[in-house]
């Protein structure tokens, strides 16, 4: 169910009135959970199981973690196994349950249908780890289980085929007969092997809760429904923004205060998002798709403009989704984080990543970059940490070498701009506009690798941009005009003329223009780009 489609409006027409009607009861939260599960199940009801499983496991793991001492203590493992002497009854039951569960699952794997064996084997391993967690009363093991579980889900559904293909290619090159099986053969009951929409988002969100609890940054959530709603809250379930437990979870503790401003702000946000998606992103996509599907048919200017158009398309598409997500949440009284903040006006790549997909970049900062050491161990180590973080960020976007290159280029770009920013000349003499332009050009260049279907396609486009003939690109003037208008608007927004944009007539005029344009020119449209991640 996409935000810009009529089924979603019908869904909202049902969900919102009931949600507000239940405000004085305890049922508003179960209603939100139910609505969120319905929203996700609309795409593929089978994968609801994944969300529910991930949610339940992380909820239980944190509950068990809560029963373990913060400080590691020496544990008499032998006494625990032989005499079942545990400090906490919960851990004792967890150990017994997990041990019995492991045995039961292994038995089921042995006796049950063949197609279930890989799934049951993985589950047995996980449950066995849980027994160890209870045995050692170790918060670290519970965290490890959460990490293994969430990342295994992500790796299996998102990267298994990519890994299998590349490993098999390597084995073939080395003349080794062994081949890794295709991941679709590991699916239970022959279910179709599909990438669950939003898996990268909900696993990261759930993971952030367990990590933050482990680090003592959030309290344990004792209400399962509240936690389930936090993981699958429908406005941001599919493509973020990736929320943190300490920001979103407390908002589910009581029904939000009903304010007219929430409604008007929410509708304003939604409209802007709708315009970005339907009027801008979809329009740009028509040109981009044609150019990128057949790059040999186009000259250098068309390839260059197609790449620039994609830069804007992905911005409008993703930030449009985020705006709509924030708008829907706001109407219900919830605040989601800002995910985009005019990123193409950044003066440095570091700044770009504080303005682009802020939820993800701050996630990587907090859970990858800083744990690796951040900038605390010297320049070389800092650059290494940056490189690793961006490499993982690239891979997070998709199982393709193009994303690896994209992430690596950004890592290099961030390093270079950091070095440049150390010099007085760059900081004080280079005009702001030139820096903005440089960042835009660099980011746009990297989008080639993000958009191209394969590395060879990406190289072809790069080559042709610099070597192909200069044919008329035939990019529609209307398209150029719309993008120029948006850029101008953003530029004015960050200039001294900002009060002009804030004036009531301009705001009303912009809203009227957007609605009329949507009614006249919107042309339907496909899914959001980031749903594939």
């Amino acid at each position: 169910m996409l935000f810009h489609t009529w089924p979603f409006f019908c869904f909202l027409l049902l969900v919102l009135p009931v949600y507000f009607a239940l405000r004085k009861t305890r049922l508003w939260l179960p209603w939100l959970t139910l609505a969120s599960y319905f929203f996700y199940g609309w795409w593929n009801p089978y994968y609801l199981f994944l969300v529910a499983y991930s949610t339940l496991l992380d909820f239980c793991l944190v509950a068990l973690m809560d029963h373990c001492p913060r400080e590691g203590r020496a544990v008499n493992v032998l006494a625990r196994i032989t005499r079942l002497q545990f400090d906490e009854r919960v851990l004792k039951f967890a150990f017994l349950g997990a041990a019995a569960g492991t045995a039961g699952i292994l038995l089921a794997a042995f006796l049950g249908p063949k197609t279930l064996r890989p799934t049951l084997a993985a589950l047995a391993l996980l449950v066995c780890l849980m027994a160890l967690g209870a045995l050692f009363s170790s918060r670290r093991i519970w965290l490890l289980i959460s990490l293994v579980n969430n990342l295994a889900l992500l790796l299996f559904f998102k990267y298994a085929r990519f890994v299998a293909e590349n490993v098999n290619e390597l084995l073939n090159w080395c003349h080794v007969a062994f081949r890794l099986p295709d991941p679709s053969t590991l699916m239970p009951f022959g279910f179709e092997y599909l990438l669950p929409v939003g898996i990268s988002f909900f696993t990261f969100q759930s993971l952030s809760y367990t990590i933050d609890f482990y680090l003592g940054k959030v309290e344990r959530e004792r209400n399962f429904l509240r936690f389930a709603t936090f993981v699958c809250f429908f406005p941001q379930l599919m493509a973020g923004p990736i929320e943190r437990a300490r920001h979103l979870l407390p908002q589910f503790h009581r029904f939000p205060e009903i304010r007219l401003q929430n409604f008007t702000d929410g509708v304003s946000l939604f409209l802007v998002g709708l315009f970005k998606k339907l009027a801008l992103a979809n329009y740009l996509s028509y040109y981009v798709e044609r150019v990128y599907e057949n790059p040999k048919a186009y000259g250098a200017p068309a390839l260059f403009l197609g790449t620039v158009a994609f830069g804007w398309q992905i911005f409008f598409d993703f930030s449009g989704y985020t705006d709509m997500a924030r708008g829907v949440a706001k109407v219900m009284g919830f605040n989601l984080i800002l995910n985009f903040n005019n990123p193409y006006l950044s003066t440095g790549l570091g700044e770009f990543w504080t303005r682009w997909h802020i939820g993800l970049s701050s996630w990587f900062r907090d859970y990858v970059y800083i744990p690796l050491g951040g900038n605390r161990h010297g320049t070389a180590r800092m650059y290494f940490n940056l490189f690793v973080t961006f490499f993982i960020s690239g891979i997070w976007h998709g199982a393709n070498w193009t994303f690896v290159i994209w992430g690596t280029l950004h890592a290099l770009g961030v390093m270079i701009t950091r070095e440049l920013e150390r010099s007085d000349f760059y900081r004080t003499r280079v005009p702001r506009l030139a820096k903005q332009l440089a960042v835009f050009v660099f980011v746009t260049f990297t989008w080639i690798f993000f958009r191209a279907g394969s590395l060879s396609d990406a190289w072809l486009i790069v080559q042709r941009i610099f070597s192909a003939a200069w044919h008329d690109p035939r990019m529609p003037a209307l398209m150029l005009g719309l993008v120029a208008l948006v850029w101008l608007y953003q530029f004015l927004y960050e200039s001294r003329l900002r009060p002009l944009l804030a004036s009531a007539p301009v705001r009303i005029g912009v809203v009227v223009f957007m609605v009329l344009y949507l009614c006249l020119c919107a042309s339907g449209g496909g899914a959001f780009i980031y749903f594939q991640f």
Binding site: L2, T5, W6, P7, C10, H247, P250, Q251, R254, P256, Q261, F263, T264, D265, V267, S268, L269, L271, V272, N282, Y283, Y286, R290, A297, R326, N335, L338, F340, N341, N342, E351, T354, R355, R474, M475, P476, A477, L478, M479, Y489, Q490, Y493, E494, R498, L501, A502, A504, R507, I508, V510, V511, V512, M514, V515, L516, C519, L520, C521, S523, G524
Partner: protein, 391 residues
Amino acid sequence: MAEERSRTSQKAAGPPDPPFVNEVRLSARQWLAAAGILAVCLALTPTLWKRGERFETGDDYRIPYALSKDYWLYEWRLERLAPTNTVLVGDSVVWGEYVLPTGTLSHFLNAQSGHPGAFVNAGVNGLFPLALEGLMRWYGDPVRHGKVLVHCNLLWMSSPKADLQTDKEERFNHADLVPQFSPRIPCYKANLEHRLAVLVERHFTFSQWATHLQNACFEQKDIPHWTLDDGGGDSPQYPNAYKNPLAQITLTVPSEPAVDPERGPKSPRHKPWSTTGKGTTHFEWVELNRSLQWSAFQRVVELLQSRGNDVLVVVGPFNEHIMADENRTVFRQLRDGVCAWLESHHVAFVAPETLPSQLYADASHPVTEGYELLARRLHEDAAFRKWNNGR
């Protein structure tokens, strides 16, 4: 980093409101103002447009083929008729698939009656009963209480496929006019999004007008797609890329091409079916009580009756010459069933006898001379005369 901090008060218990980028944030009053402006624009534009756009219709006017899906124009066309006009509704048989506007049934009925313009061609190319029902229900209101001649083309019951009963997905014309949810059409597989969008457009005049604009000025495309029309060549040309979309809006409804090589006596298509090399055809007639198209046709008649229309149904005449012999009995039973239902519901009808073979271009469409003969026969028919004279 320039970020606007929210002006709303920060609640002690909750997190602070996140910043609001780009200032497109309206207060309740501003929303009201915007909604007022929008309501005026959305409500008045289609009405004002009708005053500004030149729409030339003559005695033999029919909706141009290229504008067949412009239902807003269709409604406008009906609005412009005089109460004394008799409206002919139906599919391409009424519209005149192989003939020029001067070779249609309405033209010859006018000629027979001696009142040019009395009979109006309101047929639509590509229509069928399930779509006709939608056309009449959503866009046919202007002819309320008027005289309506409805053509019943039995071709739509000639096979489960024509009756849209097959389970395999079929693409057909005027899908936006067919019932989107009930009754279910098995071969219509549009997704929920499309079906809901269709329902919205039926109730939202501005949206219908926007579609009219696309049909009349932008080659049946929305403006973004029109600017990226690739021109159909081997290499992408995008001939409209640098054109000003506003310049396309000429405020004139396009008329039929002055010379239509596809239609009329000089057209290679305008010839008897038997000379095209087609042999006889075996039809798999659908039983009336199981036919989706017949049910829809019944609903059309009932709808028109409920609107106070004076309805006459012309059944066929279907080209029986094209039929395999063993088919004829079933066909006649079907036709008799149609007539029996019409009679039982006190609907005036005429079931003209089959025209000579050479006057058909295919199974149901006559050529020009066929329409002329049909009009003459209708005019001589007592039921038709009684109905036509009963004003």
